[in-house]
């Protein structure tokens, strides 16, 4: 991972000191809540239903064991002993006292972590492929470019008061694990025919109440021009994005209003006026950042591990875990291990302090001290030897972290919902738990195969329901929680928006409806078709009929 130097450390320390002063002024009554709000929001501190919530940035989802242990310590000392990993690879602490926040920021700063730009109308923490540096699919390491963007966007003088928040996703693989097409800017690294590295630049995707799959405004931006081009996009947005209506202020609204061609033209025109020499990063600094990612000492291993094969043959649980949670690594003899934070009775994305410590220990011992958070609210040990998989699986099992359901029906994204969030209309967590329990039979879950359910407790869509194969949106209907189902969404490389299935239903009807959708799929699928493929082939009609048959 990227190693902070003294300059990076001093920067984070300065930020923590600044916030300590601001909190002191607030607690002394020198600042009103109205005056304090923008200051705390610039440090990731929200006031939620029951308490302050602190959102800690995990830059592009990458941590070492020291950092994860510190997050566990903070969760135990200042919170109720757990934290919540979000769809943007951050960690939220839900029960924070205002007076503790300066100490928490100091503790984070000691391990090169912070909460800078985890809220506010600025450039937020960058989402990147959680398999970066480990998957054979990638053509470059997206973390290098994510770090370039992190540094460039940190307290950017021109772009810290944008019309609305601004989110980047960066990936270098054909298989998109970042939801790049539903971000404000998605950057997909590609090679041109002559081999030159460039970015496909996708602008104006997003979810919320007006979802869009973002259009590509440039097929191949030379990587060396990244920052000047981003400056042009952000400048057009800063000047022309709407500021009169918070719900129409994201860049997606500007792109849609102007049209992709006109927006792209304005960006190109602005870009042509920018002096690229000072705007773009010097090659020497790019090389320094690339070099600051610790080179990993992989052993030379055979592609097949007899230890692992024998253990799999002896343990059906390990074999199932291997089928679902273990992914191919670029180096022979290694694997990428996904740790599900979706145990069937748990809150999606939550991890206890003890679980964080277990994962930190495993990362240190078995994964070259590297851990990732995924946008699907799970964790990843990116570099595990096949020989070590039985031991890692055993330790995960003991910590309640071996749920073998990655990508399956119970691997559900859910927002915190009405259990925590001040904006929510309905609960999301109990719906996720009810569905997970209904599909607890692991054989059946594997038979169903890839099926992504995403649940949001309100129209802001933090639970990504627009891009769920099955999306579930909680709404308030005359004081009662109702749930609206939609079908056919995807946040991946084949991005699409889900379509509403029919009238909403009460919470107790949701598991039956999911069951009806699954049964319809299982009886209609052909060959290796995923649920999403079947929905795309057949359309909504048979699914709608199955769910609402009783209503006729």
């Amino acid at each position: 991972m990227y190693r902070y130097d003294a300059i990076d450390r001093e920067f984070v320390a300065d930020r923590a000191a600044e916030f300590r002063g601001q909190v002191a002024r607030r607690l002394a009554g020198e600042l009103t809540e109205d005056q304090f709000k923008p200051l705390r929001l610039m440090n990731g501190l929200y006031l939620q239903l029951h308490a302050y919530m602190l959102r800690v940035a995990i830059p592009y989802g990458s941590m070492d064991s020291r950092q994860l242990r510190r997050l566990a310590h903070i969760a135990r000392t200042y919170d109720k002993g757990y934290g919540h990993f979000t769809t943007r690879q951050n960690l939220q602490l839900n029960w924070i006292k205002l007076g503790d926040t300066p100490d928490i920021l100091d503790q984070l700063a000691e391990v090169d972590l912070h909460a800078i730009q985890t809220s506010g109308n600025c450039i937020r923490n960058v989402t990147a492929d959680p398999y970066a540096g480990a998957t054979a699919e990638e053509i470059d390491d997206p973390r290098v470019w994510s770090e370039v963007i992190r540094q460039w966007s940190t307290l950017h003088p021109e772009f810290s008061f944008l019309p609305r928040k601004f989110k980047f996703a960066v990936t270098a693989s054909a298989k998109d694990r970042t939801a790049a097409r539903v971000h404000d800017i998605g950057l997909v690294l590609r090679r041109s025919r002559d081999g030159a590295l460039g970015f496909e630049v996708i602008v104006g995707g997003g979810q919320g109440r007006t979802p869009y799959v973002g259009p590509t405004i440039r097929e191949h931006l030379p990587v060396g021009s990244l920052l000047s081009y981003l400056q042009a996009i952000l400048r057009v947005y800063n000047r022309h994005g709407r500021r009169d209506n918070i719900y129409k202020a994201r860049i997606k609204i500007l792109v849609a209003a102007l049209g992709k061609e006109e927006f792209a033209r304005q960006v190109e025109e602005e870009w042509s006026k920018i002096d690229s020499a000072p705007a773009d990063l010097p090659d020497t600094e790019l090389a320094r950042i690339r070099g600051a990612f610790t080179p990993l000492a992989f052993d030379s291993l055979p592609a097949r591990s007899e230890t692992f094969e024998a253990a799999k043959a002896a343990s059906p649980a390990l074999a199932r875990f291997a089928r679902n949670n273990v992914k191919p690594h670029k180096k022979p003899g290694y694997a990428i291990v996904e740790i599900s934070l979706k145990a069937h009775h748990a809150t999606p994305g939550d991890a206890s302090a003890e679980q964080m410590e277990t994962v930190a220990d495993l990362a240190e011992r078995y994964s070259l001290d590297d851990v990732r958070a995924t946008h699907e609210q799970n964790l990843v040990l990116p570099h595990v030897k096949l020989d070590d998989l039985p031991a890692v699986h055993g330790a995960l099992e003991a910590a309640g972290l071996a749920t073998p359901n990655i990508g399956l029906i119970s691997d559900i994204i859910a927002c915190p919902g009405l259990d925590y969030c001040a904006l929510a209309n309905a609960r999301a967590i109990p719906i996720a738990q009810a569905i997970a329990q209904r599909f607890e039979d692991a054989d059946r879950a594997e038979l169903i195969g890839e099926l992504k359910i995403k649940i949001s407790g309100c129209i802001n869509a933090c639970g990504h329901h627009h891009v769920g194969n099955i999306g579930i949106l909680g709404v308030d209907k005359k004081g009662e929680e109702f749930y609206q189902l939609s079908l056919g969404g995807s946040g991946q490389e084949d991005a699409s928006l889900a379509q509403i299935l029919g009238p909403g239903m009460s919470a107790d009807k949701v598991p039956d409806a999911i069951e009806a959708l699954v049964d319809t799929y299982l009886s209609a699928r052909t060959g290796q078709e995923r649920f999403l493929d079947t929905v795309r082939r057949l359309g909504m009609a048979p699914f709608k009929e199955a769910v609402y048959a009783d209503a006729h």
């Binding site: 130097d5 001093e10 300065d14 200051l39 940190t154 810290s160 008061f161 000047r239 500021r243 600094e285």
Partner: protein, 166 residues
């Protein structure tokens, strides 16, 4: 007299504001330095400047500073307006005035101008500030200098981290 903070040669100090800010509905006084809206300047500026008056222009966030390109050499200052602290368009206006239009005169931050924005404002080339929060020149200097390092190039001369590291 409203307090004004000015930045010159790297130092912040309190300054007297010699300009009168003229609302569009008000008459222009017979003498003294004035600040006019962009539209008023476009209508009446030539006559005032021709008469040897000292004139500045107030630019709202939705107005393009490029419209002033040919007038800049005649202007004593450009005031960029923050209707709310959250409205960040003036940062782009100031940046363009300095970097693209080569303006060397005073760029003044007016409106909802709070010390928490000082660092951003200075880095975008603003060099005069009319604080709305009672901040003194010392407060302003402390706020603007809070961070020992900056990560990116901007209008100011501060070396970004990659030059410090070099």
């Amino acid at each position: 007299m409203p307090t004004l903070i000015k930045l010159a040669d790297g130092r912040f100090s309190a300054a007297e504001d010699v300009f009168t800010d003229i609302a569009d509905e008000d008459a222009i006084p017979a003498a003294g330095a004035v600040i006019l809206s962009l539209t008023r300047f476009q209508a009446e500026g030539d006559a005032l400047v021709g008469a040897g008056r000292t004139v500045g222009v107030r630019v709202q966030p939705d107005e393009a500073v490029e419209d002033l390109a040919y007038d800049l050499p005649r202007l004593a200052l450009v005031a960029v307006v923050f209707p709310k602290y959250r409205d960040g368009r003036a940062y782009t206006s100031a940046t363009l005035l300095r970097q693209r239009l080569g303006y060397g005169g005073e760029v003044r931050a007016v409106g909802d101008v709070l010390r928490e924005q000082a660092g951003f404002m200075v880095r975008c080339g603003m060099d005069a500030f009319a604080p709305a929060d009672g901040a003194t020149a010392e407060d302003w200097a402390a706020a603007a200098g809070r961070f020992r390092h900056v990560y990116q190039r901007a209008v100011d001369a501060r070396p970004p981290v990659f030059e410090e590291r070099g």
